[in-house]
Amino acid sequence: MTTTSSLYDQLTTGFLDRKAEQQPDWVKNLRQKAFQQFEADGFPTIKNEDWRFTNTAPYLKEAYHLQPVHIPLHEHRNYGHIPELDAHEIVLKNGLLNEDVNIPGLKVLPVRTALQQPALEKYLGATVPLHNNGFAALNTALFETGIVIEAEKNAVVDKPVHITHVYNAAEPLFAQPRLLVIMQPGSKLEIVESYFVKGSERLFINTVVELYVAPNARLDHYDLQIAPSNAHLINFTQVEQDGDSLYNNHTYTLPGFSLVRNNLHLNLNGTNTESHLYGLYLTGGNQLVDNHSLVNHRKPHCLSNELYKGVMMDASRAVFNGKIFVQQEAQKTNAFQQNNNMLLSDKAVIDTKPQLEIFADDVKCSHGSTIGSFNQEALFYLKTRGIGEVAARNLLVNAFAFDVTEKAAIPAVKNYIDKLITQKMAEAYD
């Protein structure tokens, strides 16, 4: 045990209380193993290399409710509405799915119901590393909420599935949802996740997302991380890709969430896979946004491409750490990684660390990172055309972010993000 806090005690008690519950053996064993690992490692501290810039301790000192205080949320069906987005809507209230979902080609179940299916053992928790991964271990030991989505073989889902995570922070809440998506061979799906937080008490979301992309399947995954500053988010996403599959991740983090830590891990387990990771973080206030990614090339002839762009305002901080492993077997790998940053204030900070480890000898890999500020000549040029300071900065930030935002294949998502960038920039200069 390395951490002592009232939250820690609560979690331990919570786990012991729940041990008596009826659960399939494999689930019990998984939870037991995960909890033991959590007890051994505790919450990560800044002494851990992967967490040296992100100190979560201040957020974990106080007590939280582990079970949501039930306050009806049903009066608003339009929580987290994205204008013009034509999608199948799934609303998770405090992590719970309260209604049946009927989407052709998909099976959608609350995670607790899905756990009763023996077939789930192959997927749930099967590849999420528990060692030295305190938050994910804790989630695995204790998750109660969230959903499992299975795309049937060769199913092509007609519209994006929009999952809105609605939380009620009327009381301090420590939430641990789980999302598992199983893409059967040849299936195709777009998922858009977004957040809506009600209430102004502390909300700590510790989420684990597991994505299995079978041969010839395609998953386009959008994560819109926008919430008020009383919310904190720790996200661990594990992606397992089989041969000939495609996975695209678009993660957008805008001012709000006071703490965001994304861990995005991809295992490329078959040949001829393709993966694109596009990230945009526009940070403001005292926000800390930390993106850690790991792309593990295990097989030959795979392509991974990562582009993360950051704009830091006010006294905000951001961290980028991208690792690419190219294993010995993974010949003919194409792996690219780029991280570009703009610091818009003297107090803003970025720590960026691209990492590449190659054990194969016939590969094409590149990585790089840049840090800059506004191009003064460009600003002056825009001003000489009558464009004022705020509008000029807006144009330049939108332009900087463009390489990432243009990759959004859903126009409503792209427009929504573009508009929010403009809005958040304007708020920062007010």
Binding site: N375, L382, T384, R385, G386, I387, L395, A399
Partner: protein
């Protein structure tokens, strides 16, 4: 329209403009010539409001307003336009979005309503045609990957769209081949009227064969040392700048 009185400006400790006097009236085209380093482009930058320069003397009135007190964007909104010698490439900002933003910011300053999408498109088409600017360039990122000639033509296209009272062309002819020079000059000539004015900064007389000036001024060592009509440009072409330099040097020594 524009009155420059004893304008002085420096960069750090170096005095660049040492007392410029110039009066520009509506309908006039003034050419400013001079050898390298004489202060031609600096004058253009000071008029447009580049912060790099520290104005330490004199005044500039534009339609009676103290120009030097205005921000670069307000100068533009009042009707000053600087065509850059080296237009900036801004990837990710579409030419058309940039122009719409500029036009609407200028209109808002003048308490005019924003242009309707339809009006804006109509105007864009008309002006493209007028200055022979290719439509396909309009939808690209601002100047990104444009050739030298395309960039300069884009400056003239912007000039046509924004309809300033006073346009300052800073060595617009540099880096242009003869065809591009003709297109750029034709564009400018079509935009000339008795209500607007141009200051054409150039190194060579060549441009002035296409854009015929009413007045020619020679800038040397931060001052206008000679003014005349278009014939002065021809004389400079023939004799070079050395004969201009003499009297000033003597003056400085004294």
């Amino acid at each position: 329209m524009l009155q420059i009185k004893d304008l002085q400006a420096k960069v750090e400790d170096k005095q660049i403009l040492k007392g410029i006097n110039l009066q520009v009236n509506p309908g006039e085209v003034h050419a400013i010539m001079g050898p390298n380093g004489s202060g031609k482009s600096s004058l253009a930058s000071v008029l447009a409001g580049r912060e790099y320069f520290d104005v330490n003397g004199g005044e500039v009135l534009f339609d009676g307003k103290n120009l030097l007190e205005l921000s670069p964007e307000d100068r533009a909104r009042e009707g000053i336009f600087l065509a850059f010698q080296y237009p900036v490439e801004i990837p990710g900002v579409s030419n058309i979005n940039f122009l719409r933003t500029a036009l609407n910011e200028i209109r808002a300053y003048r308490n005019e309503p924003a242009l309707e999408a339809k009006e804006f498109l109509k105007m864009t088409r008309e002006k493209q045609k007028l200055v022979e600017f290719e439509a396909k360039l309009t939808n690209r990122s601002l100047n990104e990957g444009f050739s030298g000639g395309e960039k300069k033509r884009n400056e003239v296209f912007q000039l046509a769209m924004l309809e300033p009272k006073l346009a300052i062309l800073d060595e617009t002819d540099s880096g242009l081949d003869i065809d591009a020079l003709r297109i750029v000059s034709n564009g400018v000539n079509k935009l000339r009227s008795d209500k607007n004015a141009f200051i054409v900064i150039t190194h060579y007389q060549r441009l002035l064969e296409y854009i015929v000036p009413d007045f020619v001024h020679v800038l040397y060592d931060g001052r206008i040392v000679k003014s005349g009509t278009k014939e002065l440009a021809l004389e400079l072409e023939e004799r070079g700048y050395d004969w201009i330099k003499e009297p000033v040097s003597t003056e400085t020594v004294n």
